[in-house]
Symmetry: C2
Amino acid sequence: MAITIAIDAMGGDTGLDVTVPASLDVASRVPGVELILVGPREQISARLESATGRDRVHVVNATQVVGMDEPAAQALRSKKDSSMRVAIDQVKSGHAQACVSAGNTGALMATARFVLKTLPGIDRPAIASALPRAKGHVHVLDLGANVDVPPEILYQFGIMGSTLVRCMENKPEPSVGLLNVGVEDIKGNETIRRASELFRSGRINYQGFVEGDDIFNGTVDVIVCDGFSGNVALKTGEGLAQMLSSIIREEFGRNLVTRFAALVSVPVLRSVKRRMDHRRYNGASLVRLTRTVVKSHGGADVTGFAHAIEVAIAEVRSDVIGHLETALAQAMDDGPQIGATA
Amino acid sequence: MAITIAIDAMGGDTGLDVTVPASLDVASRVPGVELILVGPREQISARLESATGRDRVHVVNATQVVGMDEPAAQALRSKKDSSMRVAIDQVKSGHAQACVSAGNTGALMATARFVLKTLPGIDRPAIASALPRAKGHVHVLDLGANVDVPPEILYQFGIMGSTLVRCMENKPEPSVGLLNVGVEDIKGNETIRRASELFRSGRINYQGFVEGDDIFNGTVDVIVCDGFSGNVALKTGEGLAQMLSSIIREEFGRNLVTRFAALVSVPVLRSVKRRMDHRRYNGASLVRLTRTVVKSHGGADVTGFAHAIEVAIAEVRSDVIGHLETALAQAMDDGPQIGATA
């Protein structure tokens, strides 16, 4: 059966300029996939004309757009015909199995929770994404949705991350670490230490505390943290990468000799850039919704947005939601027992 | 008057191999400075023999060493003749104005608090350090000493960071940002939002919330955060820098062509490395003690450790402690008034 993904065509900093070509790219490249572009019908149709892949790209009309800085509550209340809302509605109604948006994160989170609801437990999904390493990558959650997270919920994040990686990467027992300010048991605050006890007694391949440097330089498959430190870590990494790339550019541009070095080094620098390319990691999952919703970076280009669509396809293919449902139900059944151990 | 700095000669991963040459380097290079090396007298004296700069390096005997993984409480209780403790005692007794150690952070923090006490308010110093940017640098605190920090203490960190930069860099009104997961007023948790109100109504050049990417890529002079997110940010940055450097090494070493490119690029790569050199930023201040104590990275080499000694010298020269005392007293006088505004 074909997988159908609804696309918020107006989301992100550039809207149709990115979402339409990315959708056409995926439609013509990935077999067994149909895409529904949600947005102003005429504008989208004009762009689809005679394009390759367009027979598997459909259009659903939506007249409004959620602003990138619009408060979530306002978007939810007054933008019922926005491309974001209608795309999520497509999932709710069963016309699509998943939805992808590069729009306003807060509005996407609020609308998806309101329309699709969450799996039992808490009603706030976590944001999970893969991040690059020199070899392979790591999945980190939460990257910013939940700023204050009690130990029990951190444990559920562990279950969620572990399930995600198990499904998507066919790893039977992904290793999980809990982000802290040191690896010794006494480090951190009460919340993180209690969470660690839950992790130890739970159904998870728990490896103990990890530190910030383990994100990009460690070995565990999944790193669990609250949304505050996760977001700080993610953005610190972005800032450092930007700084380094501007320093490298500056030093290679310094004079004729360094410019020659740059010329000779083009293939090497290109490989380094490719390996660090955030577009290859674009597409964060809002984990715990009853359906798959993937958030693309607002500034993603065609390659990046296409990758986010492929993340959604992979989640649907491997039935992440079904597995999450089972795993979370089990974890919550274990609850009292785990509480007793802690 | 000469400035005297006490050095924990046995601290750090390499002890005397680093601390002795670094001390000799500073003594022979920086005028008006005397150094007291604290550790096993005979071993140290043997290394000082006929070295340049040795007339300004003195030795004070200490028979014990604090282990890098030793619990802080144990070190405090049972290592009263450790190089760390005796170095701090030298400051307490007035023989030195400041102390530098590359030893166990927890033990250094506990011992320094116990022996030297803190300026009024809370009894736990914050860890502050400069971090590199493409242009200039930023001072961040707390980098890991205080994991749970109420709004009032975050505000005091703001005063402390601002005072530190004002004294050390002659900036009359350093700009200060508060680390959060977004820049809008509604972002973050209750603690961070209340802290922001205090910052706004206080004696500080407050610029509002900043995000993780502003650490390495932003413009404020001082970034304030709790020790949990500060430590996560610092170590995430370290991990990413390590990953990037291993990727760059790998790509330049791939084949004969890339190795030629590496050869041609040596001066450029060296400049990049120099600008990112963590040794130039080594030396974190434990801010709020009644005296200056500087923590060096445990793995610092001679250059790095010498830099940490110079941080201590600069703090003493610019009377950071005196200015902190005044600024904190003022801030606490403002307390009720600020509370009323908040």
